[in-house]
Structure formats: C-alpha cells, structure tokens
Amino acid sequence: MGFLDISNVTKSYGKTEVLHRVDIGVEEGEFLVLVGPSGCGKSTLLNMIAGLEDITGGDISIRGRVMNGVHPSKRNIAMVFQSYALYPNMTVGQNMTFGLEMHGVPKPERDKALTEVAALLQLDKLLDRKPGQLSGGQRQRVAMGRALVREPDVFLFDEPLSNLDAKLRVDMRTEIKKLHAKLKTTIVYVTHDQIEALTLSTRIAVMNDGYVQQLGTPKEVYDTPANIFVATFMGSPAMNIIPAQVAMQDGAPHAVLTNAAGETVQLRFSQENMVDWVGRDILLGLRPEALTDPEGADRKSQNIAALSNPVAVAEPAGSDTFVTMTLGGRDVIARLRADTSVTPGTSFDFAVNMEKAVAFDPETERRIPA
C-alpha cells in the first residue's frame, strides 16, 4: 500500500463514464505526472483526489485513510490551479495565509510560515500587493506559495504552467523541480505537455480516453512505450511507426521494409523473441534520434544498421537537422547532427540504432515485449 492510493476509481457524469478503473499507487515523496491529450480525464482525476469531485466507484486513500466523501479541507492537500485562483480582494500575504487562518492557526505561526515560504519563493517584496498588480510568473509563484505554507501531505498541480509564456514556463519548470528536490513532498501534477512530464516526474501516468495507458518512470515510458498511443504521444517529434514484416536472415530475426526508392531494406532486431513473429506483419517503432547520420550514431549501441534512403525535406533546427522521408510507405522523421549536409532529392546513408527499436502488434497496437 502506497502513500496515495487510487484503487479501481471510476467517474461517471450521468451515464457517460469518463474515467475507467484507474489504479495508481504513489509513494511518499514521489512526483507523479498525469499526462494526456485534452479531455482525457486528468483534471477530473486530480479533482477527485482533492475532493472537489465525487468518486463514482473505487477508493482514494492518503496515508492509509480512505478519503471518499471527506471534505477537501480535511484531506491535508494543497492545490495549485491553472488560473492560479488567487483571491482578487486579498493581498499576496492574505492569499497565502487564508488556508491557515481557516484552519485556526494563530497569527504568529501564520506569519512565521509566511515569512519562510515568501523567502523560499522570493515573494518577500510582494506580500502587500494585490494579485492584479503581479505579473504572470509572480502570480504563479504566489499560487505555489499558498500551497506551500500549508505543509500538506500531497501537492496537487493542475496545469500550473500553461498560462505562462514559453521562456517563463521553462524557468518555472526548473524551479518546481528544485523545490521538489528540496522539500521532498508528494506531488501529483497534471499537464498535457509531454516535455514537462518527462522532465519533472519520477513517474508518469499516460492517460487517454479515461484509461491509464501506461504507468512508469520517464525512461520506461519513453523507451518502452506500452502501446502506439504512448509511443506517439510522448516525445517530440513523435516516434516513427513503420509497417514491416519479420523475416529470418543469417539465423536472426530482421525487420523487412521498403524504402522510398522501392528497394527492400533489412534491419536486424536486437530482441531475440522476434523469431516468434517471423512471417508476420508488425509496426516498427523508431524514435527520430535512433535514425541518424553514421557519425551521430550512439557509439555504445551493439546494433547499428545501415539504411540508404532518398531524402524528401531537410529542416535545420539549430541544434539538430530534421530530415523527412518515406519509409515503408509512411512519412518518417530522422534526427541528424546540425552540420550534416543532406540534399533533398538525393539518397543519404542513415544509421539505425536497432537496440532502441520497438515493435508493435498491428492488431492490438500493443508493444511486443522483449
């Protein structure tokens, strides 16, 4: 049993079930990110943890205590909202201590907590301002400060960075990460931004259509996605999914596919168990960085295959050059080093890191376990 347990939780609005049997256990000090496309039920799940939405089925417990039906303020949680939800008529200081006041904490203690948190978040100079007089980033910090003073068991964040501009978002991301490293509180964090999910979390729950598609560490989710949805949702540019057949060659299973010139290409699998799939169709999953120029290939990899293919478009993007081409009849993106010279229309020799390749069952779209 974990610190925060979500077991068998479902949610329905009338007859429509929007969350189906969600099971997530969170350990103390973990940073769990709920990630998924819009409308997949992330906020709903978070609100259920907070007690802002009723639980239709299943249990949510914190520290072993079942929280179903418990008032939000009695769960010892704090929440940071997407719109920050700062009380417009109160000063920053009042905003931050309102929760303590409601919980009957005496004024001297409130002031002490406020001073500490304000120092931590560099809000000292802003305490007498009203929310309307703050910048977006400052409001964001106040919202976090309001959560921090409470010293809750669990922090809940609902897309806290999505109202910030791109640069500020990256800065605040780092700040949140530092804060977590320092305070080691348990956090459940909702976002639809997969980069945020990968950088911040200790574990990720990828959700779609009310189902948890995969629950695992960022590395697990990135390297061994449970299915095609996770594979393409996490990572940018998305993982390439290429139709291929499995065939035996020199006693090893190979992926056989056609390149843009109509030639057959064979790539040896690192996974031995692909022999079970010989003669069948699969979907080969290759991340853009596993499809690169020979000099840029991962030197530690035991299984680099060569692949020659005509290039359709080359897009230099500063740190990398992205190349678009056709492989197995699909558009595929490769990620080359920035100074690689490629000419659209001509053939280029790619290096494929087959150690990182994954294969999916085309019927179920699930990953074929290694």
């Binding site: 049993m1 417990s61 205590r65 079942v66 039906g69 418990v70 009695k74």
Partner: protein
C-alpha cells in the same frame, strides 16, 4: 485495509445541504406567492366568484362572458394598438439614437443621461407631466396659440379615437432611452475588426449598418422586444395617471380592465379570467427567451 473517515463525512454532508437550505426560503416564497397564486387565480377563473372568492366550479363561463364583453374587446384591441406602436417606435428611436450616439459624438456623456432619466421616474409622475402637457386648455396647444399659431390643434387626450396614442407617446418617452442604452451596449460589444474588414471589403456606411451591424444586434433586439412586450402587457399605472382609462373607456387596457372588474365591479371570476389571459400572453412571449437563457448558461 484503510479506515473510513466517518468524522469528516458529517461536515461534507452538511456542506451539501447548506446551499439547498439557503435557497429554500426564496423557493418557498416563489412557489407559494407566484406559482401557488397563479394556480389559485386560474382556479378562481373557473368559479362564480363575485365580490369574494367562491369555490363553485362553473366551467368556462367566465371566459365565454369575458370574450362577449365589449369592454374587454376594447381593452384587448387597445393593447394590440398600444403594444405594436410602443414596441415599434421605442425600438426605432432606441436604435436610431444608439447609432447616432455611437458616431464619436462630443457630449455623449451629457446626452446619454438626458435620454435615460425618464426611466427613473414612476409612470404616475410621467402620466402627471404628460397629462398636463397634452391638455389642450393649458398645455402644448394653449402655448402654441399664445405664440401666435392660432390654428394649432392637439386635443388627442380628449378624443376617444386618439387618446390611446397619447399613452403611446408618454410610454415611448419613458422607455425609449432605456432601449437606446441596450442597443448602444450592443453596438459597443461588436468586434471592431469585423467592421474594419467590412470597410475594406468596400461596404458603404448604409450597407455596413444594414448588412453587418444590425444583424449583429440580434440579441439586443430580442432583449428589447421581451422587455417592451412584457411592459406593454403589464401597463397599468400610466393609463391610470394619464387618462384614467378615459375618455369613456377609450383607453382601457387589460390591466385596468382586470382591476376594475375584480375590485370595483365585483366580478372576481371574470377578472381572474382576464388575468389568466394576460399571463398566457406573457408566457407565450417569454418562453423562447427563457429557453435560450437557460440553455446557454448550462
């Protein structure tokens, strides 16, 4: 396994009840004083009540009687004339003033309150002012004569056929400024970029308003219509103050008819029937509005 947190349950449950408890006095008042009373009046309209309520059901006799009364027909046709003119003229003046006032007018801040202030007055005050203003003996006609325009005649208020129009004039005077404010708010709410786009498309001023602006004011038209229509059906005070329903019965409206039949002529059953018909008229006007109001906000 985990323990249930029963202690906290209580507060949560209480919190769920408080809102409903808080709402209940208003709901109770409304159910009794509005809907209960409506049902009661509907019931009375099927009884033979005269001076006091009686509970003997006599079927639809009151309605048959009502529609056989020439006084009721006068009231209804007066209402038809009054409502049509009142709504049309108020809307026309309101829209015109709003559009003109929206042309970056200097002194808009002065003009707007001048157009609007009649709305703050009671219909009794408005009636008093206009009754005198329109009185041929001392009002406008008299003044024109004094100014040398001897042939000027304006005796509508004393004229059976024309008196109803004096009610229109006074009512328009009172409400058209308010309608102007509604349209002005509508105009100010229109996205300026749409107008710029239309001007770039080469729309003339006239067609800009006719093809783009006025269609965009649809919600304001709807609100104005609903408010004016319900004010028209409810009109009572103004008639009392301006003409007292006269000359003769020339300016009776359903509202004054209902009052006099119920309370002075002691025909409560018939009065109730007339009130029910007024309610049904308003319900027919309001239903689409209510429906849209509730659907949008869901």
């Amino acid at each position: 396994m985990a323990s249930r947190a029963d202690d906290a349950d209580f507060r949560t449950k209480l919190q769920e009840w408080i809102p409903k408890l808080v709402l209940s006095p208003s709901v109770a008042l409304m159910l009794v004083f509005v809907y209960g009373f409506i049902l009661y009046t509907i019931y009375l309209s099927f009884t033979g009540s005269k001076m006091l309520p009686k509970y003997d059901l006599i079927g639809i006799d009151n309605y048959v009687r009502l529609w056989g009364l020439s006084a009721w027909w006068t009231a209804v046709s007066n209402l038809a004339v009054f409502a049509t003119l009142y709504i049309t003229i108020c809307t026309a003046i309101g829209l015109t003033l709003a559009i003109l006032l929206d042309q970056k007018i200097r002194g808009e801040g002065m003009l707007r309150p001048i157009y609007l202030y009649p709305m703050a007055l009671s219909f009794i005050v408005t009636g008093t002012a206009w009754k005198w203003f329109l009185d041929p003996g001392i009002g406008l006609e008299h003044t024109m004569h004094l100014w040398g325009w001897e042939s000027f005649e304006f005796g509508w208020i004393k004229d059976r056929n024309m008196a109803i129009y004096t009610i229109v004039i006074a009512a328009v005077w009172q409400t058209s400024g308010f309608v102007m404010a509604m349209f002005l708010a509508g105009l100010r709410g229109i996205d300026n970029e749409i107008l710029k786009a239309a001007q770039i498309d080469g729309a003339s001023n006239w067609s800009l308003y006719r093809r783009i602006v006025i269609p965009l004011l649809r919600p304001a038209f709807l609100s104005a219509f609903v408010i004016l229509a319900h004010l028209a059906v409810k009109s009572y005070d103004l008639v009392i103050a301006l003409t007292g329903g006269g000359p003769g019965r020339a300016t009776e409206l359903p509202a004054t008819f209902m009052y006099s039949y119920t309370f002075t002529r002691n025909q409560m059953g018939t009065g109730a029937a007339s009130a029910v018909i007024m309610l049904m008229t308003i319900a027919a006007i309001m239903m689409p509005y209510l429906y849209s109001e509730l659907k949008e906000k869901k």
